[in-house]
């Protein structure tokens, strides 16, 4: 079947097209060039006056894995306020802060998103992450596997194993957990918490291993680069949420020595200690450092006001933050000599000074970082806010008067502590398309996604141009996934199953001998039972794996 999308204004940063009127042809799930000679269009959509982008990609969203399911179980009252009924084509479930898997897929698609990446896949919990993501319809998905507090790596670092050995272990873990990237959360800190350390600065030693976060970051960032994994090491830094942590973040940027590094939810790591409340914005200094260091990419982790739940691997910091839990209930776990997690419900309030300033810091960061290819639109769902708030966030970025109207309602002391009112920048449609599409696909290393030129998979979102950008991005006219029409007027009309994106870096098989010994001596599972097989993703007939090339691969 040949589908033609006629006359829309196309925003395709991957091809450098910025709002030009263009026709798009779709065949067999992919975008194709206009056929030559005589041809029959089977279905045509008139897109005059419409805005056409590729399907949006959320490069950091907690949509799969144990901590998310703990968050769900913890908050029945939140679900009760947002029940989602079954229809002829969709499953029932619940929404708001941590929606059920099916509702996650529907609501992302209804906002024009066609892919989401879980950033904290614990190796030992990777099965669960993939099983949950397998129950998210429509979206493509993938995960970044979490390393850096696992005892095996720390033992390697203590034993001064060479970089090649680290690379092998990272590659093995990526394959075993079916990952497309590598994440580190509070490097070594989750482990240190198990030894009763309650904080861990960048150069502070783990009390058992003597290893510092800086060393962990360097070895993992090097491994990711040397393995040729496109997505740079994905870093949730030290000291999340601690006033003054902007210095840690600046030091982290300097300390990585030019290696590619992605700093995630940087808003939570951009705090100073100025002012009467000893809490201030470090966004300007952070943005300056990001602008200067081209090896650095970031996503923001914007907070938006309202009830949500924070779910993180960082049990050290989550334990410290539990006194802010609202409602007052929380969970932390130490997990399998592998990592940990912490789940703390939060209610961000615009009349709370700290929350209000957090909101402003996130927006300052968006507006002060120059290059939209190196900054990504996230709320660290659900930690800063549920993903369903993205259209509102886009309006805040694109509409200065709206932004300033909201600014004028937040805690007055916070208004005095932010430069936001004076920042004139408004994001363009093309910049939004870069942050949420082309840039994200490039950052993760997704082949044939995030663009609208021939050869790309036909993940396409069509909006009606509207000065109210929130309304515009809330309700796309059409969303196509792999060429199939899945959403019309902001409602799911058809469902399908997306693929799981992975990379498969090579490793020296002799590593498994040592790992097997380690598993038998210290862990609770046989190495052979730990590795996730391809079958586990595909055997139900819905899932599939898409393996992306590594840097240096010959196409």
């Amino acid at each position: 079947m040949l589908i033609k999308l006629t006359g829309g204004a196309v925003y395709d940063p991957a091809s450098g097209i910025d709002g030009a009127k263009q026709d798009i042809y779709i065949q067999d799930g992919r975008i194709v060039d206009k056929p030559t000679g005589d041809f029959q269009v089977d279905k045509e959509y008139d897109l005059k006056g419409k805005v056409v982008m590729s399907g949006a990609i959320d490069m950091h969203t907690h949509i799969g894995g144990g901590k998310g399911n703990i968050a769900r179980t913890l908050l029945p009252e939140d679900h009760r306020a947002d029940p989602v009924a079954r229809t002829d084509i969709t499953r029932s479930g619940c929404g708001h802060a941590m929606p059920s898997t099916f509702v996650t897929g529907y609501r992302y698609a209804e906002m024009g998103y066609t892919a989401g990446f879980e950033p904290a896949v614990l190796p030992i919990n990777a099965r669960q992450a993939h099983m949950e993501m397998a129950d998210i319809p429509i979206l493509d998905k993938g995960g970044y596997v979490l390393l850096g507090s696992d005892d095996y790596l720390l033992r390697m670092l203590t034993a001064k194993k060479d970089q090649k050995a680290i690379n092998d272990y990272v590659a093995f873990t990526m394959q075993a957990a079916k990952a497309i990237g590598v994440k580190v959360v509070n490097p070594g800190g989750i482990n240190a918490f198990k030894f009763n350390q309650r904080k861990l600065d960048l150069d502070e030693q783990n009390s058992h291993y003597g290893v510092t976060p800086r060393e962990i970051l360097k070895s993992l960032a090097t491994a990711v680069k040397e393995l040729g994994v496109t997505h740079p090491l994905h870093v949730h830094g030290c000291n999340l949420g601690v006033p003054g942590n902007m210095n840690t973040t600046l030091d982290t940027i300097q300390g990585i020595g030019g290696l590619p590094m992605h700093l995630t939810h940087i808003q939570f790591h951009s705090y100073g200690t100025e002012g009467d409340f000893k809490f201030s914005s470090g966004a300007a200094q952070i943005a300056e450092a990001v602008n200067k260091n081209k090896n650095i990419t970031i996503d923001v982790g914007q907070i938006l006001f309202g009830q949500t739940v924070t779910a993180s691997g960082d049990n050290m910091r989550q334990h410290a933050n539990h006194k802010h839990a609202s409602p007052n209930k929380w969970v932390t776990m130490d997990i399998e000599c592998d990592a940990g997690c912490g789940v703390v419900p939060f209610k961000y309030k615009d009349k709370n000074f700290v929350n209000a300033l957090q909101w402003a810091i996130g927006l300052e960061t968006f507006l002060l970082v120059d290059d939209p290819w190196r900054i990504f639109l996230t709320t660290d769902h659900p930690n800063g806010a549920p993903f369903t708030s993205y259209p509102h966030l886009i309006r805040l970025l694109m509409d200065r008067s709206f932004r300033n109207d909201v600014l004028s309602t937040i805690h007055p002391e916070a208004q005095k502590m932010t430069t936001l009112a004076s920042i004139e920048r408004e994001y363009s449609l093309q910049e939004i398309a870069i942050m949420t599409r082309a840039g994200a696909a490039r950052l993760i290393g997704l082949q044939d996604r995030g663009g609208l030129s021939a050869g790309n998979w036909a993940d396409i979102t069509v909006y009606t141009d509207n000065a109210d950008r929130q309304l515009m991005f809330e309700k796309p006219d059409y969303v196509f996934k792999d060429g199939e029409l899945v959403v019309v007027d902001g409602k799911v009309v058809h469902t399908k199953w997306g693929t799981t994106h992975v990379v498969k870096p090579d490793f020296d098989a002799s590593l498994e001998k040592d790992l097997q010994k380690y598993f038998d001596r210290f862990l609770t599972m046989k190495l052979g039972n730990f590795k996730i097989s391809d079958d586990e993703i595909t055997e139900d007939g819905r899932g599939s794996l898409t393996v992306h090339p590594l840097k240096g691969d010959v196409a």
Binding site: P76, S92, S100, D135, K194, N196, E536
Partner: protein
């Protein structure tokens, strides 16, 4: 005859995956690393291979059609048991969503003690590998741990090596409430566990006093539930002195009214120990025959644990009102689907209502159900996934033999399609 190694068990809850099983046709023998829970569960013979309707052998298609016909005109079907693997639960929830059923895991009334505590105040918990490598003091509350999991001590406490302890035999074990039924808790160098017994119904008082002592609150009695306060003070001191104490309980063993308050007291006590400059963690026991699996899959599919109804078109959780036994006995239900792929002894409650059993081959009934569809067991007859007690690790179950029995998900998907 074939021998299969590194076989994971869905039966014991602690994720043993070192079983060696001999397969001879469709009969299995646990050759190594069996235990009183796992060996009989693996070795259970296949009896029925054909579905029955009204006691007569029929084809699978006919049985599925009959099941769908029985469900078609119901107003409030109940799906009980819910003892299967991840794919089985996926299919079960799809069927419940379509038919407006109530879903209720058969062990939920026990598990409720944990869920109510979790949903009210939360907890700080750990997993088995952390126990194996870090635990220097294990406090076992209200449960005979080795009766629950025969190999717990061998695998996770008396392991020869640990990463952070020079000598695992130096670990200390304290029982509060129930006494151990055997000697598994005795350390390799002969140190027996400290045991402080009390009646089940005294546990709330005993645990409350222990928590108070951890916090340093004065206690004005000399004994509680027959246990000297001085002994509880000694336990409190040990908990505060340990580097990584672990407090374990089995929600289902706390078989008294409002036992969720006991779980909450223990969990809050663990949190408080962590505020006293050391580490401590809870470790709820469970995970047998798919109970964690049911709650996990129901959790991500609906947002709620596996005592949830779909009769309004969307999921509604009620840990009391959605109790299958309650609905059956007070006439609110009008059909029962019983799903139990693990345990032939876990038969459905007897009811006059139309009953469909999707059960492990070998199940026998006091009253023949309207439809019985024998299914394979996850981890024996087909591959699958099951959650371990610590709720983090999903084990990959193996297929050990070719029995021709359908899986739970095959059968439930077919019934859903037929609707």
């Amino acid at each position: 005859m074939a021998e299969i190694t590194e076989v994971p068990s869905p039966f014991c809850g602690i994720g043993t995956d070192d079983l060696i099983i001999q397969v001879d046709g469709v009969s299995l023998k646990v050759a190594e690393n069996g235990c009183a829970v796992n060996s009989p569960a693996f070795e259970q013979a296949i009896t029925d291979t054909r579905p029955r309707v009204d006691g007569k052998d029929v084809s699978l298609e006919a049985a599925v059609a009959k099941a769908a016909a029985l469900l078609k005109n119901t107003n409030q079907p109940v799906i009980g048991g819910c003892a299967t693997d991840v794919n089985g639960m996926r299919a079960l929830l799809a069927l419940a969503d379509r038919s407006g059923a109530v879903v209720d895991n058969m062990n939920f009334t026990g598990a409720r003690n944990n869920f109510l505590a979790l949903q009210d105040s939360g907890w700080m918990n750990t997993t088995l590998a952390e126990v194996k490598n870090r635990c220097d003091l294990l406090l076992v509350v209200g449960v005979d741990l080795e009766g629950f999991s025969p190999r717990f001590f061998e695998r996770y406490l008396w392991n020869k090596e640990s990463m952070f302890m020079d000598d695992t035999a130096k670990r200390e074990v304290i029982y509060l409430g129930k006494a151990p039924s055997g000697t598994a808790s005795t350390s390799p160098d002969g140190q027996t566990a400290l045991v402080f017994e009390c009646a089940n119904e005294d546990l709330p008082d005993v645990v409350a006093v222990l928590r108070a002592l951890v916090k340093g609150n004065p206690i004005r009695v000399d004994s509680v539930g027959g246990i000297a306060v001085a002994d509880l003070q000694a336990i409190a001191d040990k908990l505060k002195a340990a580097s990584y104490s672990v407090v374990t309980w089995a929600a289902g063993a706390l078989a008294y009214s409002q036992a969720e308050l006991t779980v909450q007291t223990l969990s809050e006590m663990v949190k408080e120990i962590n505020d006293r400059n050391t580490r401590s963690s809870g470790l709820p026991l469970g995970g047998k025959e798919g109970d964690q699996t049911a709650n996990q899959v129901c959790g991500w599919t609906t947002g709620y644990p596996a005592r949830t109804r779909f009769s309004s078109g969307f999921p509604e959780y009620d840990p009391y009102l959605n109790d299958a036994n309650f609905l059956l006995s007070n006439g609110e239900a009008d059909a029962l689907v019983w799903v139990q792929a693990f345990n032939v002894k876990a038969v459905p409650p007897v009811t006059a209502l139309p009953t469909i059993v999707v059960g492990r081959s070998g199940m026998t009934f006091a009253k023949e159900p309207d439809v019985f569809i024998p299914v394979g067991t996850p981890g024996i007859d087909h591959v699958g996934h099951a959650y371990r007690m610590d709720n983090v690790v999903a084990i990959r179950l193996k297929k050990l033999r070719e029995s021709g029995l359908p899986s739970t998900s095959d059968v439930l998907n077919a019934i859903e399609q037929a609707l």
